[in-house]
Symmetry: C2
């Protein structure tokens, strides 16, 4: 819902309200899909066991504490406790006190529970296979393609970008740490994380930090700091691996440019490394031009510099 005061050459995330026709199409698909696939596959899951317990079995496979289960499934403590005793009485699940904190109870599947879970999975697979069965190979791959594209775009649509945000929060730190860890792996000589800019440099009015989140937490970040003299520097633009290929980079970049302009910068500069091909393509596509160097440039890893005038 940004007012389009300053039209940017980049794609705007929200070009007005969606057309009624498009809204109807989404609703139509939703109606069809949940009726045909969603509900049915639930019924398939439960083997004369309440749906809640069946779902729980799924989650227990990867969780160990009640707290975790409660958060993941959004259950009441009492309700979960009762469901667990039900599963325990079927000897699908075993609980024992956590030695580290004996208020807690650790939960694990028994051998029988694992068999039961495998059977549930087999049935869910059979259901999905049943859907694919009536299709030719070509049709199948078109279907999977469409589902994949749809999922990626839905995920993208679920991502919200907060800007500016305090770079000292846990979520922000997590992003910056992930960024450093990734570069450390990708750069031949590793990555020297001491060159990460400090939180002070990224807080207004000196600079700004931008954070993208989906339903499960942070999925990307980016920062602007001041180089002085009307110039800003873009730093630490990072997208979580599972959120790549969605167009989120462009969205973050657009937000950072807007922020930089708001901070009074007239030109935005950045440096990057030839290995980071996706990033380079992003900058070129967004109208950045390569420059030899710039004052304040200090990253020893970077060997490519870009800049762009801000509107």
């Amino acid at each position: 819902m940004q007012p389009s005061v300053r039209p940017s050459p980049l794609e705007q995330p929200t070009p007005g309200q969606p057309a009624q026709h498009d809204v109807a199409a989404v609703r139509r698909f939703n109606r069809y899909f949940t009726r045909r696939v969603g509900v049915l596959s639930d019924r398939y899951l439960e083997r004369n066991r309440p749906l809640g317990q069946a779902r729980l079995l799924f989650e227990i496979a990867t969780a160990t504490t009640q707290r975790e289960l409660r958060e993941r499934l959004g259950l009441d403590a009492g309700q979960l406790s009762r469901m667990l005793t039900a599963l325990e009485s079927q000897s699908l699940v075993r609980t024992r006190p956590d030695p580290a904190d004996r208020r807690r109870r650790l939960i694990e599947l028994t051998a029988r529970g694992r068999r039961e879970l495998a059977e549930q999975n087999r049935r869910a697979d059979a259901f999905a296979a049943g859907i694919l069965n009536g299709l030719t190979g070509d049709q199948r791959s078109r279907l999977l393609d469409s589902l994949g594209t749809a999922e990626r775009l839905l995920r993208l649509a679920a991502i919200t970008v907060e800007s500016p945000v305090d770079p000292a929060t846990a979520e922000a730190r997590w992003c910056l740490d992930s960024y450093a860890a990734e570069l450390d792996e990708r750069f031949p000589g590793g990555f020297d994380s001491s060159i990460l800019v400090t939180a002070e440099q990224l807080s207004p009015p000196a600079g700004a930090f931008v954070l993208a989140r989906d339903d499960n937490g942070p999925v990307g970040c980016g920062a602007v700091r001041s180089l002085g003299d009307g110039a800003g520097e873009l730093r630490h633009l990072w997208i979580a691996p599972h959120a790549r290929g969605l167009g989120l980079g462009r969205r973050l970049l657009a937000d950072l440019e807007r922020l930089a302009a708001d901070l009074g910068h007239r030109v935005l500069r950045l440096s990057t490394h030839p290995t980071l091909t996706e990033a380079i393509a992003l900058y070129r596509g967004a109208g950045y031009r390569a420059v030899a160097d710039y004052p304040g440039f200090e990253d020893p890893h970077a060997t490519l510099c870009f800049e762009r005038d801000l509107p």
Copy 2:
């Protein structure tokens, strides 16, 4: 699950079990979609009214008798009756005895019920719009494209083809009537339905009839009759308008060819009309060649003849 005894040049609907990878992709999408969209939109629908009543309100807009509602929603008679009295006590719905059969009660929305329904729709729209909001125009159209393709393919996968089937059943008659009605509209001079082949000609061993159904009933048909002398004739291949563009034609055609071969025919012939461009494309694509005429050809509307040797 047809054994591939006689490999046809046409695409087989079931080339073996789907790969595990594909199955997982379908499950992944299902999980994501139902969690993110399905459940949420239900919660959006209900305005401190039980979900069942909210759904009912939707359906009443287009239905008038309890019987119809029961069938559409799969509800118990008692349950529906109670839900209706609940809606009636909120004066959203009015019922009155059907003058034609006073055991029945006609159901209609009151003015207030219509307002309430409109509000429900507004909310559901807002929810769908919310999904589209975070996307650029280009991304939106890609999303809608993908959803459309996925829905069409899922619909196709849900279609089952029964062959052979008794051409005298109500469903078969319905298809043939629809076929005649459509041609009557599309042909400049109308369609003379007396040339429809008789049920006897389409029953084994003289011929065969094939019927395609989706969850809601018949969506297509086709027939083979004998022309004598080792030749069969393909007749009345028809696909319901809402099931077109899915590739169902090719599937029915493949089934009919298999049937014709089973009946002992060595060549399959057919006649069609230049207006029916989709059909002509289908036949050409399936390896049929145009011929001038053939013995037994009798359809006054048809002016194009095709044939193909059966394996």
